[in-house]
């Protein structure tokens, strides 16, 4: 910061959230960080992101073995020891017991997806037991030819006839404390976030919306905050491959009058 006084707009800031895919306790997507000794170590990568100014982290576990529950709990415990910012854990969570173990090991929030769709009572159960503030509902959604956004399950492999907006509203009414919205049309394209559905949900819902899928440039993040009014934006590979540095992104947003933590 130069000699000019930096104006601080006091208030809640927009959040930047890197997402780490985890398998058997290791990060799976490649990384391009010279600073890392071991690109597969989630703790090392997470620590780097925290230092660079990430506001939160999401760990998405894609392990499909029987050992999953144990390795994930151990990992969450290690993350909690080392990371001094909030983090969410998701991936295959389907019961109160799963959530209890993750929170007891230090996770701040958990995210549920298909299990909540198949058993909507789960959201209410979890919210009652642990409080809405730690229950993130992840929705994978795709815009179809009819112009509507529909809910997809099982990592985007199974289409449902439920409109994204209907599912989001009912989940929030049931106690979901935050929505993590991934647009399958945009995910991986680096062509920008799905501004329309993010805006619809952000302005309709009383809980924060995390936009995910499509962030590829600094402008995309500006747009998702300014136009879609998302509360947070999540991305994975552009951070892992160092295409965008979190520090630079936040400076850019600040310069564009978007309130971020610097």
């Amino acid at each position: 910061m130069g000699s000019n006084s930096t104006t601080i707009n006091r208030g809640l800031t927009k959040r930047i959230i890197p997402c780490l895919d985890i398998k058997d306790g290791r990060t799976v997507k490649g990384t391009n960080f010279v600073a890392l000794r071991d690109a597969g170590d989630p703790i090392e990568l997470a620590t780097l992101y925290a230092k660079e100014g990430a506001d939160e982290l999401v760990f998405l576990d894609i392990t499909a073995t029987h050992e999953k529950r144990k390795t994930l709990s151990e990992l969450v415990n290690r993350i909690s020891q080392h990371i001094n910012i909030p983090f969410t854990v998701g991936g295959g969570i389907s019961s109160v017991e799963d959530v209890s173990a993750l929170l007891a090991n230090g996770a701040d929030k958990i995210s549920i997806n298909s299990a909540a769709y198949k058993n909507p009572a789960l959201i209410n159960q979890l919210a009652k037991e642990f409080g809405s503030q730690c229950i993130v509902l992840a929705i994978d959604t795709k815009k179809e030819a009819d112009g509507e956004w529909y809910v997809y399950l099982n990592g985007g492999r199974v289409k449902t006839d439920t409109r994204c907006i209907d599912w989001a509203v009912s989940a929030v009414n049931n106690g979901a404390g935050e929505i993590l919205l991934t647009s399958m049309n945009n995910d991986g394209t680096k062509q920008g976030f799905a501004l329309d559905i993010n805006k619809t949900l952000s302005s309709l819902l009383s809980v924060p919306v995390i936009a995910s899928g499509g962030g590829g440039s600094l402008e995309h993040f500006k747009d998702v905050f300014n136009i879609a009014e998302a509360d947070a934006a999540l991305a994975a590979s552009i951070f892992h491959f160092n295409e965008i540095e979190i520090k630079d992104l936040k400076r850019y947003l600040h310069a564009n009058n978007i309130s971020v933590r610097l």
Binding site: R10, L12, I85, P86, D108, G131, R261
Partner: protein
């Protein structure tokens, strides 16, 4: 340094323990009154609902016990709110250490023609507040070395109003107390254990009080 975290039915205690480890302190988690009374410092954490937590404390006579502690005590989040006089959350009488009252954030648009409270900054904000916000008007050794408008991490739907005990202010819908202090009692609404370097510095300051 003998630091005790009070164990009760409302806490994300693991994160607090680990944050203390990161600043070099091995804390003990207990509800044993002798152990708590003998500690150099006490942390009163809390995530959850006010009336359930107060009932739990009362059943174990921890309510009067906490009020009579003489060493520095730090309430975090719900812990701080329980140290206030009263909470709107299920109409709960709290410990009454701080005079301030705890109210619910309301983000309803007032009816046309009704007078707007001039303190109201922004009505269309979401409740709970979740994320990073500034702390300012810092006035306590708890914030030694912490810059005005530093960011801390908040998750809450209820807030303590501004008052004589306010030692930090934060703006969300309206300005409110993000930290309180009276005698040997301190409270922070945010989560220092999740507030990056700022949070760790505040925990260190508390340890060094």
């Amino acid at each position: 340094m003998n630091l005790v975290i009070i164990k009760y039915n409302a806490g994300n205690i693991q994160s607090v323990l680990y944050a203390l480890n990161r600043v070099g302190i091995d804390a003990v988690v207990t509800d044993n009154k002798d152990t708590i009374a003998a500690a150099d410092k006490v942390i009163f954490p809390g995530v959850g609902e006010a009336s359930t937590a107060m009932n739990y404390l009362k059943e174990r006579q921890l309510d009067t016990f906490i009020k009579e502690l003489k060493q520095p005590v730090l309430g975090i989040c719900l812990g701080m709110q329980l140290m206030c006089s009263y909470s709107e959350e299920n109409n709960t009488n709290c410990l009454g250490i701080f005079d301030e009252k705890v109210k619910k954030f309301t983000n309803n648009i007032p009816a046309l023609g009704s007078s707007l409270n001039e303190d109201v900054l922004e009505l269309r904000l979401k409740v709970p507040q979740m994320g990073w916000n500034n702390i300012y008007n810092l006035k306590s050794p708890l914030f030694k070395g912490i810059k005005e408008d530093s960011y801390s991490y908040f998750v809450h739907s209820y807030y303590a109003s501004l008052g004589e005990d306010t030692i930090a202010t934060t703006n969300y819908i309206l300005p409110y107390s993000s930290a309180l202090h009276k005698d040997n009692f301190y409270g922070v609404q945010f989560h220092p254990e999740k507030s990056a370097a700022t949070g760790e510095a505040i925990l260190k300051n508390f340890i060094e009080l």
